[in-house]
Subunit: 517 residues, 2 copies
C-alpha cells in the first residue's frame, strides 16, 4: 500500500491530475510561496496545460519510476516492466528486418568505405549495395547529410507515388507528398492549417488515438467526438456521425474536418470498403476535410478483412475525378511489419486540396526544413523491398512473414483470452496492434478513484502495474462512452510473454475485484 | 525580361506577396469563382497565412523552378543554381566525416551482420565497432528501431551532460535535456509553452533567424525586436534592449522571453563574455526567459573571439546558484564541423525552469513520441569523438581540421570581398556560416519593387538569381533597420566556387545599378 500510494502521488504530481485536484490560482503567486518563475503553471500556455497524452502519461511515468527502482533493492513482485502501452514493436523484442538496415548502413557510409569499398560484396548483399547506390545517385551531391527538399527528397517521393499507384491503381503526384518525421508531425502539420480558431471543430472517433485530441487541444480547437459501435466490432455508424455533426453545428461549432483511423487505434477494427465509401460521401456532403490515418494499412490479420484506402473509396464514389473531397492521408514506417519507430519516417498525401493551401502547407513544412533522411530512406524501403530474384528477396520475405504470422496469432489469441476473463469484454483485433477490452469496475473502486480525482481505469491500470509490472493505458486516455471502463494493450511482446501478460491481467483483476468488493 | 517576369510571378504566386497584393476576401467565395474548398485561404489558420519563412521562401522557390528548367532546353546564362540561401554544408559539397558515419552504419546493422560479423574488423575501424557496441548496449533491447524515451535515450543524454560539464565546468542533469529532430523543433517546443496568448511578447534580435519570427507568428504571439548594432560588428546593445522592452511593455505587451543567437545568424558575430553576462543580467532583472540559440558554438573563426555559453555567463553572474535566471539553450548536429543537417539531431538544456513547467514540456515532448535515433546517435558522436590513441582519432581530427580551416579562410575572404564591392558594406563574419552585407539600392529599383509589392532586396535577389544562378536570401527575411537593404549568403560552397560567387555578385550588382539608374 505504501508503494502504491507513493506511486499514485508521483504519477499524479507529474500529470494533469494534479492540476485537476488543485486548480492553479490565476493571476500570480500568493505571499506564502517563493517568488514565481516567469514561466509557471499560471503563465504557461493554457492549451498546453489542458492537453493530455495518455500513451506516455500518468501510468507510463509511474512505470518508468518503478523501472528505475528495479535495479536497486526495492521489492517488487516482478523483475521487469512489460510495456504494452505503446505500439513500439522493437522495444519488446521484435527484431529489425535485415535488408533495410543493410541498405541504410550503406547509405550512411561514405562511398569509399561503403558501396565502393573493394570488399563491399563480402559484407553486404548485392541488392543492398545496388539499392544504396540508386539512392545515393538519386540524392546527388547532397547525400544523406544535407537537408533535403522540405517535402522530402524527390527520389523517395517518386517511390511513394509508385507504391500508391500499385496499391490503388490511381496516379499520385510527388508534389502532393509531404514526408515527415513519422506520421505525428504530418498530423500536426495538417491540423495547424485546419484549426484556424477556437470555433473550429474536428470530428474524431471515440475511442481515438490521442495525438488527435492532444493536437486539437494545443491548437485551441474543438473536439467533436463520434462514437464507434463497440457491439459491432467498433464499426463506424453513419447515424451517429450525422448526430455528432449536427449537434456540434447547432451549438455553433464550425466543424470542418473528420478524422478516420483505419485500421483502428486503439480499437483494432478494419472497416469494410462500403463503410469507407460511406464516410467519404459523408465528408463530401458536409464539406469536411477527411484526415485518414492509415498507418496500420499493412496490419490486417483477419482473413475476412481487407484494407481499403480512403483515396480508392473516394475514387469509386466519383469524388476524386469530380474534385469533391478534400483528403489528407497519413502513413508511417513505425507500424506495418517494419515497425521502425526509431527512424521517424512517414508522409502524408494530399488529394483535392486547394493549390493555394498546398503552398501554405509547403511554407509550413519549409520552416521545419525537412524530415530526417534515414526516415525518408526507410519509407522508400518499406514501400519497395527486394524484387523476386534479388539476393535478399527470399530472406526478406521470410523475415517479414515470420513477424506477420506471429502478429496474426497474437491478435487472435490475446483478444480471445481477454474476452474470456470474467468481467471483461474484448472485440476481435482484426488489425493494427491493440486490444481495447471493456472492464467492469467495482463500485468501491469508482468511489476511491473519484476521491483521488482520477478515472477508475487509471486506478485499475496503476494497480495492474504495481502488482504485475504490466504497463497498459487506461481507456479514458482514448475516450469512451460514459460508464464504460477498460484499457488498451498492445499484443507486441513475444507470444510466450503475451501468454504470461494475459494470465497476470486475469489474476490481478480477480484480486482487484476482491479488494474493492 | 520575359523569364524574369515569369519568375517573379511564379515566386509571388507561391509566397505571401500574392496575398499582400490581392487581399483574400473574407467570408466566402463570390459567385464568379468555382465553389470554394472547405480549406482555402479564407478559412486556413490566419497565423499560418501571416507566417513567413524566407530561408526557403520566394527566391528559393524561384531557384527550384529554374533548377528544373536547367535540365531542359531553356536558356540560362549558367548551368546550375548555387544555393547559398541555407546553412546546409553537405548540399554544396562538404564531405561527411568518415568515423561518425561508420558508427552510425554499425548501429543500423543487426549485430550478426554488423558488430558481431566475423569480418567486421576488416571493414570497420575497431573504435567504430567499439563505440557502436557501447551504443547498442546502452540502448538495450530497443536498439535504434524503437521509440526511445521522449527526451532521448538516456545513454545519449549522459553524453550531452558530460560534454556540457567539460565545456563549462558545470554539472548538467540528463533530466533537463530534451533531444529533438534538430534545434528547430526544440525552439518550437519551448515557444509553444511560452507564448500563451496574443499579448505575449518574445524579444528577438533584428536581424534574426526566421524560425523565431515564424514560430511566434504561428503561435499568435508578439515579436518584440531589438536591433543589433551593425556598426559595432552586430554587437548587442543594452540601451537598445532596454528601449525595446520598455516600449513594448508600455503598449501592454507581456514580454516574457528573450532570444539570443550567438554566434549570430544571419549576422556572424561572436559576442564577448561580458556581453553575454550583461544579457543574462538583463533577462534576470526583467524576468525574461532566455532562449539561447547556440547552434554555431563550434563555428568560431576569428582568433580574437571565443564562444561563451549563456549557462557559463549566467553562472559567473551568480544567477544559476541563486536560481535567478530561466534559461533554455539549443544545439544541433546540423552546424559545427559535422554539418549533418540530414540527420536532424539536436537538443535543448533547461536551466532554472520551474519543475512543473518541465513536466508540461515533457508531456508535450511525449506527444511527439521521440526524436529520430540516428539523429540522437549523431549528437552523441559530435559531442564525443574518438579519443587520442583510438584507431580513427588522427584521421577524424584531420578531416575536421580541413573543414574548419577552409571555413576560416572563406569567412574572412568572403566578408572582405563583399565589403570591397562599391555600394556594399559587410561586417566580418567572426563565426557561424553567413555574411549579411548591406547593399545600396537605386531609387528606381525601390520604386519598381514597391509597384510589385515586394521588397527591393527581393527584387535584387531575384535579379541576382536570374543573371547568375546564385540563390541568396533577401535581408528583409531576417529583419533590418528601415532603409537598410541587403541579403544573407552562406560561405559554404567550396573556396573556388565562392570566389566565382563573389565575382558574379559584383558584376550583377554593377549591371543592376546601371539598369535602375
Amino acid at each position: 500500500m505504501k508503494l502504491f500510494a507513493a506511486l499514485l502521488v508521483a504519477a499524479m504530481e507529474a500529470s494533469h491530475a494534479r492540476t485537476f485536484l488543485n486548480p492553479i490560482p490565476r493571476g500570480g503567486s500568493t505571499s506564502t510561496t517563493p517568488p514565481a518563475k516567469t514561466l509557471n503553471l499560471s503563465s504557461i500556455s493554457p492549451n498546453l496545460l489542458k492537453m493530455e497524452y495518455a500513451v506516455r502519461g500518468t501510468v507510463v511515468i509511474a512505470a518508468d519510476a518503478i523501472s528505475e527502482e528495479l535495479s536497486s533493492t526495492s521489492p517488487h513482485p516482478f523483475d521487469k516492466i512489460v510495456y504494452t502501452n505503446i505500439g513500439n514493436p522493437q522495444s519488446v523484442g521484435q527484431q529489425p528486418l535485415t535488408w533495410p538496415r543493410q541498405v541504410l548502413a550503406l547509405c550512411d557510409l561514405p562511398n569509399v568505405v561503403g558501396i565502393d569499398h573493394p570488399r563491399a560484396a563480402e559484407f553486404f548483399p548485392l541488392d543492398a549495395i545496388a539499392r544504396a547506390r540508386e539512392i545515393k545517385e538519386g540524392l546527388g551531391v547532397s547525400g544523406t547529410g544535407a537537408y533535403s527538399h522540405s517535402k522530402g527528397a524527390r527520389v523517395f517521393r517518386d517511390d511513394i507515388c509508385a507504391f500508391l499507384k500499385e496499391r490503388d491503381g490511381l496516379e499520385a503526384d510527388p508534389e502532393d507528398i509531404y514526408m515527415t518525421n513519422g506520421a505525428s508531425p504530418a498530423i500536426e502539420l495538417a491540423l495547424t492549417a485546419i484549426v484556424s480558431d477556437s470555433s473550429c471543430g474536428v470530428m474524431i472517433p471515440i475511442p481515438q488515438y490521442p495525438i488527435y485530441s492532444a493536437t486539437i487541444d494545443l491548437l485551441g480547437g474543438e473536439k467533436v467526438g463520434y462514437y464507434l459501435d463497440e457491439k459491432k466490432g467498433w464499426d463506424a455508424n453513419l447515424k451517429e456521425m450525422e448526430r455528432a455533426l449536427s449537434e456540434a453545428r447547432k451549438r455553433g461549432v464550425k466543424v470542418n474536418s473528420f478524422v478516420l483511423i483505419n485500421p483502428g487505434n486503439p480499437t483494432g477494427q478494419v472497416l469494410s470498403k462500403q463503410s469507407i465509401r460511406d464516410i467519404c460521401k459523408f465528408c463530401s456532403k458536409h464539406n469536411l476535410i477527411l484526415l485518414a490515418d492509415e498507418v496500420y494499412q499493412e496490419n490486417v490479420y483477419d482473413p475476412s478483412a481487407k484494407f481499403t484506402s480512403c483515396k480508392l473509396a473516394a475514387y469509386e464514389e466519383n469524388l476524386v475525378s469530380t474534385d469533391k473531397l478534400e483528403l489528407i492521408s497519413f502513413h508511417s514506417t513505425s507500424k506495418g511489419i517494419y515497425g521502425e519507430c526509431g527512424r521517424r519516417g512517414g508522409y502524408m498525401e494530399l488529394v483535392g486540396i486547394d493549390p493555394k493551401v498546398k503552398d501554405q502547407l509547403y511554407k509550413l513544412a519549409s520552416s521545419k526544413l525537412c524530415s530526417n533522411l534515414p526516415g525518408q530512406i526507410m519509407t522508400s524501403l518499406m514501400l519497395r523491398g527486394p524484387k523476386p530474384g534479388d539476393e535478399s528477396y527470399e530472406s526478406h520475405e521470410r523475415e517479414k512473414d515470420q513477424i506477420f504470422q506471429s502478429l496474426v496469432r497474437r491478435s487472435d489469441k490475446v483478444s480471445k483470452a481477454l474476452d474470456a476473463i470474467d468481467g471483461f469484454s474484448c472485440q476481435k483485433a482484426q488489425g493494427s496492434m491493440y486490444c481495447f477490452p471493456s472492464v467492469e469496475m467495482p463500485e468501491k473502486a469508482k468511489k476511491e478513484a473519484e476521491d483521488l480525482g482520477i478515472t477508475v481505469d487509471t486506478l485499475y491500470a496503476l494497480d495492474l502495474l504495481e502488482k504485475t509490472g504490466v504497463c497498459v493505458v487506461p481507456a479514458s486516455g482514448f475516450g469512451q462512452e460514459d460508464g464504460r471502463f477498460g484499457f488498451r494493450t498492445t499484443f507486441l511482446p513475444s507470444e510466450e510473454e503475451m501468454d504470461q501478460v494475459v494470465v497476470a491481467i486475469k489474476d490481478q483483476y480477480e484480486a482487484f475485484v476482491k479488494k474493492y468488493r
